[in-house]
């Protein structure tokens, strides 16, 4: 008999395709696992298996981050202000994937409105890391990452604004891909920062990521003005070497503030890449040091505006017994938003307010230009930029909640590609002990490519993945 939990999504799809496995059996298997979840990875799990459809994804069920709107199914973006909200429509990408044969299995926990790097900011309680339940899974797509790593879902989608797919993928020992901005429709994604948000796959391996991404990109969505016809195509990766591939290592993102264990794993993987035939050289991203600052102006500014619609008028929470309109607004938003969301709304409102716009928002947009230029210049000489995905391994629950900026530093390696709108993938890069010692935890390796280079990026990631041979079984027990 097949051990279903050990099948990758691609293997499961193939088994269904061959008739060795019924789609409904797989769905029920994962529904039961998800329902028995002890990690608080889910905010909703399907009651019934859907009618088996056929499609290239074979009927392999999908876990979807809470912030994707799903008709009639709670879509709360991890926030109490949207508790129990069931939208009347479904996000384009969820609809596309369902049509392609990946039916909705569950909605996954996340940091409230995707603001956070640990999933501790969820209005529905934190998600635990399956490798060590005293630690965070990363965030904001922590529920998706933990569910896939723990084998509670075959695969998942999440969203990445400044690292929210890549960083939890790294901390949970799975693959996470943030596509080129505009490659995947944002219609139906409850927005955090519109100019940065992008949906992508969180999967057990690179092949699964490619399989899912293939169905996420394609013809532009007429409902999302910022979406694009995807140029070229995404194929299943098969490459096993890196001959002729030039990897650039930016000193700015691979030294300061990074844990020794992470740096050790990073150095080992660079050596492995050389053995696979890649050239590895230092590259310069001179403005990368300012990326975090620019990001923490732009993202909160957009968020402050995106979250203005949560006003207690049309949906969601409303404070009771308001004395007047202003009272209704301010108390609804006081009661409904968590501490981090309030912090970012305040930061973003301040950055856009009269007299400060140019100093903050205007300057941050110019820094963004410089960062995009840095990457463009680098890609004239390199195929990909490689960095550690996160500066450390999974940290303990509560370790960084007291110091917002310490939490923001988690995004230091992921934010530059977000600002430039270019694709980046995180793959498991072995294990490393946390700074204080203790049992080893997953580490991530990030590859960043030029806009629309997903196919090549997946190929290179696949070659490295095969050579690295990461074993994630421990998390699925």
């Amino acid at each position: 008999m097949m051990d279903l939990v050990e099948l990758t999504a691609a293997q499961a799809a193939a088994a269904i395709g061959r008739g060795d496995l019924a789609a409904r059996e797989l769905f029920d298997f994962y529904r039961d696992r998800a329902a028995a979840d002890e990690l608080n990875a889910f905010t909703w799990v399907a009651q019934e298996s859907p009618e088996a459809g056929d499609g290239p994804l074979g009927g392999v069920p999908l876990a979807v981050k809470d912030l994707f709107c799903t008709a009639g199914v709670p879509s709360q973006s991890g926030s109490r202000i949207l508790e129990g909200y069931r939208p009347p429509y479904t996000a384009t990408v969820v609809e596309r994937l369902a049509r392609a044969g990946a039916p909705l299995l569950a909605k996954t926990n996340q940091d409230e409105f995707a603001m956070g790097s640990s999933t501790e900011n969820s209005g529905f309680g934190p998600t635990l890391n399956p490798w060590d339940r005293t630690r965070v899974p990363g965030g904001s797509s922590g529920g998706s990452a933990a569910a896939v790593a723990a084998g509670l879902a075959p695969w998942a989608i999440g969203t990445d604004t400044g690292g929210s797919i890549r960083q939890p993928a790294a901390l949970c020992g799975i693959v996470g891909l943030k596509p080129t901005y505009g490659a995947v429709s944002r219609y139906g994604m409850i927005a955090f920062a519109s100019s940065l948000d992008q949906a992508g796959p969180l999967t057990r391996d690179v092949s699964d990521a490619a399989l899912l991404l293939m169905q996420m990109v394609g013809a532009r969505d007429p409902r999302d003005a910022t979406s694009l016809d995807y140029p070229g195509s995404v194929s299943l990766p098969a490459r096993t070497d890196l001959h002729g591939i030039r990897l650039g290592v930016p000193t700015e993102l691979s030294s300061d503030g990074i844990e020794p264990g992470v740096l050790g794993a990073f150095a080992a993987s660079l050596e492995l890449a050389r053995q696979l035939g890649a050239s590895v050289e230092t590259c310069q991203l001179p403005h990368a040091a300012h990326a975090l600052a620019a990001y923490y102006v732009l993202a909160p500014a957009e968020a402050s505006s995106n979250l203005a619609r949560f006003d207690g008028v049309r949906y969601g929470l409303r404070a009771q017994d308001a004395t007047d309109l202003l009272d209704m607004y301010t108390r609804t938003r006081h009661d409904g938003f968590g501490a981090e969301v309030k912090r970012r709304i305040m930061l973003g409102t301040y950055a856009l307010s009269s007299g400060y716009y140019e100093a903050y928002y205007g300057r941050a947009q110019r820094v963004r230009t410089l960062i995009a230029r840095d990457f463009a210049a680098t890609f004239e000489h390199f195929d990909f930029v490689v960095t550690p995905t996160a500066p450390g391994v999974a940290f303990e629950l509560g370790a960084k909640t007291a110091d917002p900026y310490a939490m923001y530093l988690n995004d230091i390696c992921t934010v530059p590609a977000s600002l430039a709108g270019i694709p980046a993938i995180s793959i498991p890069n072995g294990m490393a002990a946390p700074p204080g010692g203790g049992k080893s935890l997953p580490v991530g390796l990030q590859l960043i490519g030029p806009a629309f280079s997903e196919d090549r990026l997946l190929s290179a990631a696949f070659a490295l993945e095969q050579a690295l041979g990461f074993d994630g079984r421990a998390a699925r027990r």
């Binding site: 009347p88 694009l228 207690g312 938003f337 110019r366 963004r368």
Partner: protein
């Protein structure tokens, strides 16, 4: 640096009620975060254009063709207070 009055002013713009404790904490936290963000004020950005759309797309417009609307029950189904087939709120004039 950000002071208590600024925090209160910004909170009012954002329609956020803050407890005394929140005001005190945010004054400190925002000040600390802004200190880190200030690093970009030292960069020379003369002549650098701002980027608001990172991938250059133009012309994604919609033809002026009707699409089905939501049935009213669906439009109103999540509303906290419904009155006369509409979304009821405390009167702004009150």
């Amino acid at each position: 640096m950000i002071d208590r009055d600024t925090v209160l002013h910004v909170a009012r713009l954002a329609r956020l009620e803050l407890s005394e404790e929140e005001v005190a904490r945010l004054t400190i936290e925002l000040g600390a975060v802004l200190e880190h963000i200030e690093t970009i004020s030292r960069l020379d950005l003369e002549g650098v254009p701002p980027t608001s759309h990172v991938i250059d797309v133009t012309g994604a417009l919609r033809a002026d063709e009707p699409e089905p609307c939501l049935p009213r029950e669906r439009a109103l189904e999540s509303a906290p207070e419904v009155l006369d087939d509409g979304f009821a709120v405390p009167s702004p004039q009150a």
